[in-house]
């Protein structure tokens, strides 16, 4: 069992943006979802854990090792897939994966060959292994990215918005791979799709503006707000009025008319109907707090 302990992490960028604001999390083996809108600080947190940038204050421990002091130790146990990345266009997939394997310390040639072939096969890239990476599509690139992240069977896998830009089939396949990994390692997955978390994660955290708003198991999150979310279809010109009177967590259109969701411990009356709560409501409730 691996444990990643994040304590009081804060980071302000040179342009004044506060990317992390006193973030503390305990993450254990299994899939951990990091949910939040764009700019919430998810990537900053993941880069900090991946030793790609340093926090102003705070600490990160993998098991009992301080990774800010011993970044190399973390890197040896890390599989990292950044949000956006490219590949050397003129290098064949197999060559680059083998190169990464060497750099990740798989010295034994036979082991390395097996591992590379296995991962290429797992990511359905085996038949493209001789092709230059420049010709890869977005999905192939993403799968190559996951293959390189898994080279060493790492203890900690960090994937930053891996499904953005993938079509539904690709996304499904990807989820399968991730859920398998969660059996042995800590997998941190960031996303702004609630469904990703819903389908995969045993634990999650919701972030916004650099802060962790909520963390825990998704079921717990749902049961916490069970019966506290209400909906009502209203006319367009009344939205602002509702927003002042109620705690509106989301609004959407339903047959061209606004449908508002409000958070209330008790029935707000005024024609609001109770809603079967799901993770979406949790997310909206958290970030609209």
């Amino acid at each position: 069992m691996n444990i990643l302990t994040i304590t009081n992490l804060s980071k302000t960028y040179t342009n004044g943006v506060k990317a992390l604001d006193n973030v503390s999390l305990n993450i254990q083996s299994g899939l951990f979802g990091l949910l939040g809108p764009n700019g919430a600080g998810k990537s900053s947190l993941m880069r900090t854990i991946s030793t790609l940038q340093n926090p102003d204050v705070g600490s990160v421990f993998l098991n009992d090792i301080n990774i800010l002091e011993h970044p190399h130790h973390l890197r040896e146990n890390l599989g990292y897939l950044p949000q956006e990345f490219g590949l050397y266009p003129n290098i064949p997939a197999e060559v680059l994966l083998n190169h990464f394997a060497v750099l990740k310390g798989i010295s034994n040639k036979k082991t390395r060959k097996e591992r590379v072939e296995y991962l290429l096969d797992q990511t359905n890239l085996y038949q493209h292994r001789k092709k230059n990476l420049g010709g890869f599509s977005g999905g192939m690139k993403q799968r190559f990215g996951i293959a390189q992240a898994l080279l060493t069977n790492p203890k900690l896998i960090i994937v930053d918005e891996p499904t953005a830009g993938l079509d539904p089939t690709e996304r499904n396949r990807f989820h399968n791979v991730l859920s398998e990994l969660g059996e042995h390692a800590i997998v941190i997955l960031s996303t702004h799709f609630v469904d990703d978390v819903k389908e995969l994660c045993t634990n999650m955290a919701i972030m916004n503006e650099g802060k962790v708003l909520w963390s825990g198991a998704p079921e717990k999150a749902i049961s916490d707000i069970e019966g506290k979310v209400w909906q009502k279809q209203i006319s367009r010109d009344r939205i602002d009025a509702y927003k002042t009177e109620h705690r509106v967590i989301a609004e959407q259109l339903f047959r061209g008319k606004p449908l508002v969701y409000v958070y209330a411990e008790d029935d707000p009356g005024a024609g609001f109907l109770p809603v079967q709560t799901d993770l979406n409501h949790v997310y909206f409730a958290a970030i609209q707090r």
Binding site: I91, F100, V102, L103, I106, Y118, D121, Q122
Partner: protein, 1201 residues
Amino acid sequence: MFTELFLFELKYRARRFDTYFYFIALFLFSIISIDFIFEGQLTALLSNSPIVIARTMGIVSALFLMIVSMIAGTSILRDFIQNSHVLLFSFPFTKAQYLLSRFLGSFVIIVLIFTAMPLGMMLTPFLPWHETSELLNFHFWAYFQPFFGLIVPTLFFSSALFFVTGLITRKLLLVYIQGFFFLLIYLFSLQLAVGSEDLFLTTLLEPFTFQSVRIITGGWSMADRVSAIVPIEGVLLANRLLWVSLGIITLGFGYAQFQFSVHSKSSRKQKKLDQSEEIPSDKRVQRFASASSNVYAKPNGFWQLLHHTAFNLRLIVSEISFWAILLCAAGILLINGFSLGTDFGVDNLPTTYLIVGELVELTFFFFIGIILFYSGELMWKERDETIHLVADALPISNWVQLTGKVLGLLSLLIILMMLMIVTGIGFQATHGYYDFEIELYLLAFFVEIFPFLVLISVVSFISQVLVNHKYVAHFITAAFLFITTAGFAAFDVTHDLISFGGSVLPTYSDMNGFSHMMSSYLWIKSYWLVITFLTFVLVIVLVPRGSEPRLFQRLAGYSSNFAHSLKVASVLFFMGFLITGSVIFYHTNIASPYYSTSEEQQLRADYEQQFRFIKELAHPEMIAVSLDMDLYPSALSYQIHGRYQLENKTSKSIDEFYLQKLPNDAVHLKFPIQSTIVSIDSTNANFGLYKISISEPMMPGDSLEFAFQQNYRVPKLSSEFSPYLVSNGTLIDDYHLPSLGYLDDIEIADAKLRAEFGLPAQTGNQANDLDALTIGKANGNGEYIDLEIIVSTDSSQNAIAPGNLIKKWKENDRAFFHYRTDQKISNLFSIVSADYELISSEIEFQDSASVELEIYHHSGHEFNTKSMMAGMKHSLEYFSKHFSPYQFDHLRMVEVPIYHDRAQSIPGMISMAENMGFTLDTESENGPDLPFFITAHEVAHQWWGDQVNAADVPGQLMIAETLAQYSALMVFKQRYGEEKKNEILKWNMRQYFKNRMRLDEHEAPLSLVKSGEDHVYYRKGLVVMNALEQLLSEEKINKALTSFIKDWNSKNGTKHIAENRYPTTEDLLSYLYEVTPASKKQVVTELLESVIIYDNEIEEVKVVQRDTGDFEIKVKIAFEKLEVSDWQTEREMAFDHPVEIEFYSVDEYGKLKMIDILEIFPQKDEESFTFELNDKPDVVIVDPNFMLLDRDVLDNRMEVD
């Protein structure tokens, strides 16, 4: 719409930082560019002469074309990179408006940036080392006329080309490597003018015009060259229009090709792979076992490094840009070929070192470019491909990451060098030269060149790490290299411990290899490598990693990230730095004193100011020299026990005299106790000057024996190479031994420097200087001496000296040689020692006297020994028969290392450098047999030099050198005929005009030629003597020379004895005029005593066959005859003598056959003549026998259509 788009482009550039950076960089460089480019080559030109400004601008614009590529190349491309084209293309403007506004906007910005050039150059005169009073007055148009007339067209064409390349390829990298492409074109332009006979095409085509301007102004008078603005007309105008129209065509092509739409061809190609991508997952077979256990093992850092190196190499090689660069370089090598040319108009043999030199010369900048460019590319590769976050999270240390990149680049350089070796060998093989010397190739590339490339590579990476901006780092690396080498040198900082990279090795000699300098070279390179590696280790921690690459962010974690292994490495390198640095410093500055250039100059100036009075004191002269000499070539030392027999030839009594040691601190002079010497004052020993007081005054005619000991050991680790005492090929001449009185050679010769030190201008001896008439070439040390030398050397070597070889023997594993002259010889001798092969022969004269002929040559250098032996024989025969008998019973030709770069004749002996005759190629090009000619010239010095010693006044070198040239030409003609002789004449004529352009003062007529005017006494002299021979006949001239020798033989000439002086050209000319008929007197005078040049040209030839079957030929010729009255003025003269015109037919083998030769009498500047001939001429030549010194001999010939 166009205006808005145009202004938008201007504003965009005006907001960008790099626009100003380029301007400032160019401005700063321009200030010093003239000094940088023309350093020491300006001679008469001034550093603000319009020609110089124009040419410098041409070169600087070529060097900075990178800027054009950065701006014009990216002006469209950036829309694609930022994906804004998707939006832009939906806006309401046309393709023409879009392209033209972008192009013109960029072009205007580029022109504005390049105004930094003229503006910067305007400041050049204010640099501290320029005296504004010596320069031309400021002239605005001298800067802006060439800028607008020459440079703006270059900028227009290059902008158009780069713009269109970016437009069509949409690849940033291609835009960047174009800078390379132009660098290669620049190198190509440099080579264009070399070796080409017809410069018209070069002038027309050369893109940067710096060669064109040089060629066009080549024929100008000195005054114009100094101050006139180059008019943009004629060929130059055509050249500019040509390039501008090429630019317009390029733009048109780009316009036609550009698709005003979102998709480029490459995105279509990408689609294909997407479609073929999927294999249904159910068809997949589980072929591979999952290795689920943790596969992370203890990594092997060394193995990772190797792998990373190979990967980085692959990254470079997999780029198309790399192959484009390689192709360009190969093209340059192919087009330029290897220039084997020599100063003598024939080629060298393609010996290995020569080929290496050519390869390096042609590709050195290309290597520097590759290093600068690919260090940036490798450093930024991950970030450019946005894979850096993945790569930076890998568990490898910074040092593996960075070192792998450096080594990747270095392996690339190694591969390129291997390719060059293969190219070189291929070239040799195709030229029928099979002595490949692989070892030498490897040494030259990997020992002589590679260490410096390693230094530059590491520095370049260091700069990339610290600056963290790819292109700014390029500039900074280039600036660093420039400042720490050339820049330091400009401020007299040349010490190897400070000047980046240290000295280079002296040139390779087949005889002496890389010489003893190799060890100091290796020490100094180690020092620089260690210091560079130390810096490298210190910046490894700062390698940008992760998402916070700013320098202060990286510095923040410096100490905590400084790993133990790095600490160990830096301590080791630091110790290496201390050790190498102190060892070198000890040897260069403590064991022997170190003088910077300015300190040395100060010493010279002090010497002159304090001791010039010695010149006026009466001094004894040497009449005999006896040396007991132990040479230790392998140990690089010698000991000499010497004895001078001195005689007072003055009319005063002498009780003290000065002795001057060779001004070299490693030479030690000691004096044994001698009864004749009272005291030796060594107060001024720091100048090598000793005052010797004699016990009994020497009365006129008295003589005295004086003994000395001289020791020398080549200083260890000195950066100065002295080519005299070397392991194989030692040459010690009389100059190394103590001389009597003041040594003129120590004086500073450069006129400007003299003025700086407050020294009066050097005038040299005047023609009417009576004292100088009693001095010949030995400068008052005693012109004729008896010489006895016992020399010992390493047992494998042969020591050769003037005189008869009395005895040679071996003793204690050393070889001894005893030489003694049997008559007085000129006081001009040298002792040579090397491992030789010997070829000997003998020649018997009719009077049964015989001369033993020997050639001592380096094993493997026998190519031309036959020609040389023939040269010796034919010369001795001809000169003995036509001038006077040869004075010795032996003549030895001795090969000496290439460093000496000349042939020298001393009594009975000729020393000739390897490259002078031994490695010339006499076969493949069917050129004139130069080894024969050079040998004949040197043999002639046994007459002109030894038999006749000319007085040390102007014209001295006409007697010594011009007569030797004439003598050699006659022997050569006798053996090889008129046609080959004419090849030599033609080359000498062209060489004369080429070299007289360098002149910075009035050219003396031949009869008053001064030392330094080698183009006059060698080149013009040969042409003049040939003209005399045509005018007067060989027989008459030889008769005049025979009488001249008879009267002026410096040992027993009747007039020499009677007048007690050496002859001048006035004497020589009187013999020549004696054999000149009155009708030709004026022409002969013009040739010998004035500076007259011609520029004749055949403009048109028309041939009409008449009914009678014979031919009427109309030839239109332009005539020009100019008298150069002083160095800035040329005065037109009327022709008062006939000019020859010759008609040839060409046979089926392309051989010329003379039909007729006629004389014409020019009356006008341009005149048509009509001739009647029986045969149809194919070629017409005016002045076919090179009687007139014609500025351009090529246009004296015309082929008939």
